[in-house]
Subunit: 145 residues, 2 copies
DNA sequence: CCACTTTTCCCCACTACACCCCAAAATAAT
DNA sequence: ATTATTTTGGGGTGTAGTGGGGAAAAGTGG
């Protein structure tokens, strides 16, 4: 499963190369294809095709006649975008997602098990520094189940 | 299970050799592969591949749509790194982990049952000396279950 | 329907670093 | 003392990451 962090550059065509260390964990069923969408915080979520499938199944269960569920579905899908890696293991990230994550010319790539997250390094630093709780506190809280 | 302590050197490529005494306890299922991550204190945790698996299974149960659980996942994985031993039974420790544990040119390797810990010897000495409680006090507290 | 512009896709090339192999030094065992 | 094993060091090579150019496709306007 995806783990670790990497600093990569993004060129003026919006291309980002997927780190080789992360590529090793992509199953062949994904067919070198990814679905990207806006993440829970100011980042871009990137799912291998097969992993996205399980999310899509959850979304299918939503009742679109209920306004809140309908709204959520729109928010999830409006910026969703599918793309394949090119010969150099890169994907193109569309403009609206780049703006959402406030990305400039450098990206922080974080492996998060089933998905890959793309951050502006500065934004990520603010996100991490922003919490008042320490790693130890959160760890004991979340993992003490 | 891992036990004992060892002083080894770390070269300018970030390589540390795993003590032969500890290698004996690594199960074949680990495939000579380790996952290293930031420890609870100023040290690096190193899990054989198979031991890490149980941690990963716990992490997979988190709901990444809940901000706090998402944050914890990021903190856990951002510095996680997988590597195999080379022909000389060494692993490469990435720069960010070395900085986290304030490691210079010598490391203290401690066997801790399921995992191996890597410390800067000086930092470890401060950590041990730093506690006001004696070994006897902590022992009676923790082991009286 | 055609001509033109713009964007997307694919291929080639350069650079740098990570990995692998070889080998010496040091420690432990016979 | 000799041999074996463990630990440490360094050098060459393949591959990962990056950038750019040209062909194809799509979009726009006359």
């Amino acid at each position: 499963m995806f783990k670790g962090q990497f600093i990569h550059s993004i060129d003026n065509k919006g291309r980002v190369s997927i780190p080789a260390k992360l590529r090793k964990y992509i199953s062949p069923e994904a067919n070198n294809s990814f679905v990207m969408t806006q993440g829970i915080d100011a980042c871009i979520d990137i799912y291998p095709r097969d992993q996205w499938q399980t999310i899509e199944e959850k979304l299918l269960k939503l009742n679109t006649f209920i306004p809140k569920e309908s709204r959520f579905l729109r928010l999830m899908l409006q910026n969703a975008h599918e793309d394949e890696m090119d010969g150099q293991s890169r994907i193109v990230i569309p403009q609206n997602l780049l703006e959402y994550a406030q990305i400039e010319n450098e990206v922080l790539i974080i492996g998060a098990l089933k998905k890959i997250e793309i951050w502006n390094p500065k934004v990520y630093k603010n996100y991490i520094d922003g919490s008042s709780e320490t790693f130890e506190q959160i760890a004991s809280e979340v993992m003490s189940l």
